[in-house]
């Protein structure tokens, strides 16, 4: 443990930066000036989270509602812990068993929740654009925790925080994002944020899982891991949805693992000392070999989970810094 002075409300307030937008819907809501400040704030929260006393009152009296239309244990608990540590009251809506299943539209749900006056709504939904739609209909801040295959911006921020802590400067990095790019909101948010911060991004995957026009995102596209990984500082693996296997987009999991699954042999094609990331949850033996995933000398995967709470605390705190005292 470090011997630094304990992190308190006061030290956080000194490093607090107002979020650039009223909502956090996409990585493009950030900008190259505020992002380093958010990373700095994230650093402070990492230190804070490692203390034994983890209670702040930045969001005291505020209500954060977690609205998860898709099941996700890790992201919803990450948001819940982040909000609770900031002192907010947190409600996690059991959407799967609520009236949403009875045909109530997203808008109806939004209007109903809005009337209960939450301060921040965290939403995950299976439809692209759902967070954007919700933000138009409510009076509180909306944080996108994943909308369809569109964006998952807090994931990109936590990945950036992990890279920032592992490498320091992220601007000179070459990052390979590998796997199912087409269906991945994590890929879209990461491409946008990494490029915004000056990193070079490559996309690697079978042609059926990489969009045909991905080259227009300003990324280099590869279908061969050996070629694509050459000179990469970071290998970011994506989760492969198992329902997309079995002949639909790739012939089988074993064939996928043979050509695109990350193991020692393939990792050796990247730059020496390259780091491995994965947004989780992992399909071990499909897109990543346990041998690599669990090797803490190369894998940042556990760090990512830790950074998730800190990055989300930074987002929630900076959103609240916009409000002032009038609210």
């Amino acid at each position: 443990m470090t011997q630094a002075a304990p992190v308190t409300d006061q030290t956080i307030r000194e490093r607090l930066v107002p979020f650039p937008k009223a909502h956090f819907l996409a990585a493009s809501d950030l900008n190259p000036f505020v992002t380093p400040q958010l990373l700095d704030l994230g650093d402070a929260f990492v230190d804070f989270n490692r203390q034994s006393s983890k209670a702040l009152d930045l969001l005291h009296g505020r209500t954060v509602v977690n609205l998860f239309f898709e099941n996700s244990t890790r992201t919803s608990s990450s948001f819940e812990i982040a909000a609770k540590r900031l002192g907010a009251d947190v409600v996690t809506m059991p959407v799967a068993s609520s009236s949403v299943k009875k045909g109530e539209t997203l808008i109806d749900t939004a209007v109903t929740l809005n009337a209960m006056k939450p301060d921040i709504l965290v939403i995950r939904h299976s439809a692209s654009g759902a967070a954007e739609l919700l933000s138009q209909k409510v009076g509180c801040a909306v944080v996108n925790a994943g909308d369809g295959r569109h964006e998952h911006p807090t994931q990109a921020l936590l990945d950036l925080l992990s890279l920032h802590r592992a490498f320091g400067d992220v601007t000179s990095l070459t990052v390979a994002i590998c796997g199912d790019i087409t269906h991945s909101r994590v890929a879209r948010s990461n491409v946008a944020l990494l490029q915004m911060m000056g990193a070079r991004v490559r996309l690697i995957g079978p042609p059926t899982l990489v969009p045909g026009d991905a080259d227009r995102w300003g990324c280099e596209v590869f279908h061969d891991m050996r070629e694509g990984l050459q000179g990469c500082d970071v290998v970011m693996m994506l989760r492969l949805q198992l329902e997309r296997m079995a002949g639909a987009l790739v012939p089988s999991t074993r064939e996928y693992f043979r050509f695109w699954g990350l193991d020692r042999e393939k990792l050796a094609w990247a730059k020496p000392g390259a780091k491995v990331m994965h947004p989780g949850p992992m399909n071990r033996g499909v897109e990543i070999d346990s041998d690599v995933a669990d090797d803490l000398s190369v894998s940042l995967i556990q760090d990512q989970v830790e950074m998730g709470v800190a990055a989300r605390m930074a987002v929630l705190a900076s959103l609240s810094a916009r409000w002032g005292d009038a609210r």
């Binding site: 808008i107 954007e132 739609l133 909308d147 369809g148 569109h150």
Partner: protein, 424 residues
């Protein structure tokens, strides 16, 4: 019988290529005289001075969806008829995809009787090509034809089974009945909600590739060639499919083609940040596709422009993009929207009006769509240059899903007559 004279108009008659000053005399619901040039002294019970405004055959819109029967809160035959009258559309052909579907002669009769009882515009029915639009069992095409159905289609549903479509086409040929089908490969478009491309990819929306339309069209045209059916390519939307069509026509295949007004006015970029009012089926395509469609209208290759009127209430539209109902209303804005082709793209007024009047009339064998002695006095009087701002809430449709909401257009309908009766 009363006679009505409309004097000092700018007559626009695509059927005779006449665009010039003139007057009309109406008797017994029909045009009894067409006078080109200066207005003579006409004896009539009522005289209307058009004051130089454009007088054209009333528009014929062959692709109108209502919710009657089955989904009346969306749109009724009455609200659609009111919208049509306000838009200068004098004949609407309603689609068979109601609940229940218009797949037997009684349903055709029901639609046409209900429509006629409103005493507004001409309401005609298109029959289903297959029973309950199931794509498997052939509907009673002969009996529906006899009952007055103008053509046969499964609407937005593509007849996936090629054997079924082949049989429908070859059977319909016995009645010289017109079959319409959307050109689309169902597998390539499964789940698609936007045009394939960089924008859809970035927004995380499933894309419908342009080649799906071409592949679907190739199949349909091959079946037309084999069966000799009269056929309408319903709602072409891509440049590639236009090229396929041109090749088939060059070989001598006679097929008609329609395009929706939306695909002439908007492109994929209009969906912007998930604006669901621009979620259409087929989806809005690239600007290159839109330009190709406009050129096709200019070159007279498009037989019919439709409004593709598809009412959807707010609760079906205000949803995440992929979950929102596709389609847009368009009856009331059809004419001013079409006039953008004249104002912005420099098309001749007659070339814009032809696929809205004479084109569909010829295709469906109607005696309307022309300013000729003996033709029904279905007319629209409009000011082509008058600026309007579309206000969706002020439109007559029960659903307000207009992609033109808030847009500035030029062209205002001043009067609409159906069989000599003023309905707007």
């Amino acid at each position: 019988m009363t006679t009505v004279a409309i004097l000092n108009a700018r007559l626009l008659d695509p059927a005779t290529d006449y665009d010039g000053p003139g007057s009309l005399l109406i008797q017994d619901g029909r045009i009894s005289r067409v006078i080109h040039g200066a207005a003579p002294d006409l004896a009539a019970d009522r005289i209307i001075d058009a004051d130089g405004l454009c007088l054209a055959p009333g528009l014929i819109d062959i692709r109108v969806k209502t919710g009657e029967p089955g989904a009346e809160p969306k749109e009724t035959l009455k609200s659609a008829s009111l919208a049509a009258a306000a838009g200068g559309v004098t004949t609407i052909v309603v689609q068979p995809d109601t609940d229940p579907a218009v797949d037997d002669p009684a349903m055709v009769d029901f639609i046409q009787r209900r429509g006629a009882a409103l005493n507004l515009v001409n309401v005609r029915a298109a029959g289903a090509a297959t029973k309950a639009l199931d794509g498997q069992r052939m509907a009673e095409i002969g009996l529906m034809d006899e009952a007055g159905a103008l053509y046969f289609t499964d609407g937005d549903k593509v007849v996936v089974n090629s054997r079924t479509l082949q049989r429908v086409m070859s059977y319909a040929a016995a009645f010289n009945a017109l079959i319409a089908c959307r050109p689309s490969d169902p597998w390539l478009t499964e789940g698609a909600v936007a045009a394939s491309g960089e924008l859809a990819t970035r927004l995380g929306l499933s894309g419908s590739p342009a080649i799906a339309e071409r592949i679907g069209l190739e199949r349909d045209l091959a079946l037309v060639e084999q069966t000799g059916a009269r056929f309408l390519v319903d709602q072409i939307s891509t440049e590639g499919a236009l090229e396929t069509l041109a090749r088939a026509r060059a070989k001598g295949l006679e097929v008609a083609v329609s395009v929706s007004i939306n695909h002439l006015c908007f492109n994929e970029v209009d969906i912007g940040d998930y604006r669901t009012f621009y979620r259409l089926d087929p989806p809005l395509r690239s600007e290159a596709d839109r330009q190709a469609l406009i050129e096709a209208v200019r070159d007279g290759l498009i037989d019919v422009i439709t409004s593709a009127h598809a009412p959807a209430p707010a609760e079906d539209k205000r949803r995440p993009f992929a979950e929102a109902a596709p389609g847009a209303i368009g009856l009331e804005t059809l004419l001013p929207a079409a006039l953008t082709l004249h104002h912005e793209d420099g098309l001749d007024l007659l070339d814009v009006l032809r696929p809205l009047t004479q084109g569909p009339a010829a295709l469906l064998g109607l005696d309307a769509g022309v300013l000729a002695e003996g033709a029904p006095a279905d007319l629209v009087l409009f000011d082509p240059g008058a600026p309007i701002i579309v206000d969706a809430d002020a439109l007559h449709s029960k659903s307000k899903n207009s992609p033109f909401d808030g847009r500035r257009l030029q062209g205002k309908v001043v009067g609409t007559w159906v069989a000599g009766r003023k309905v707007h």
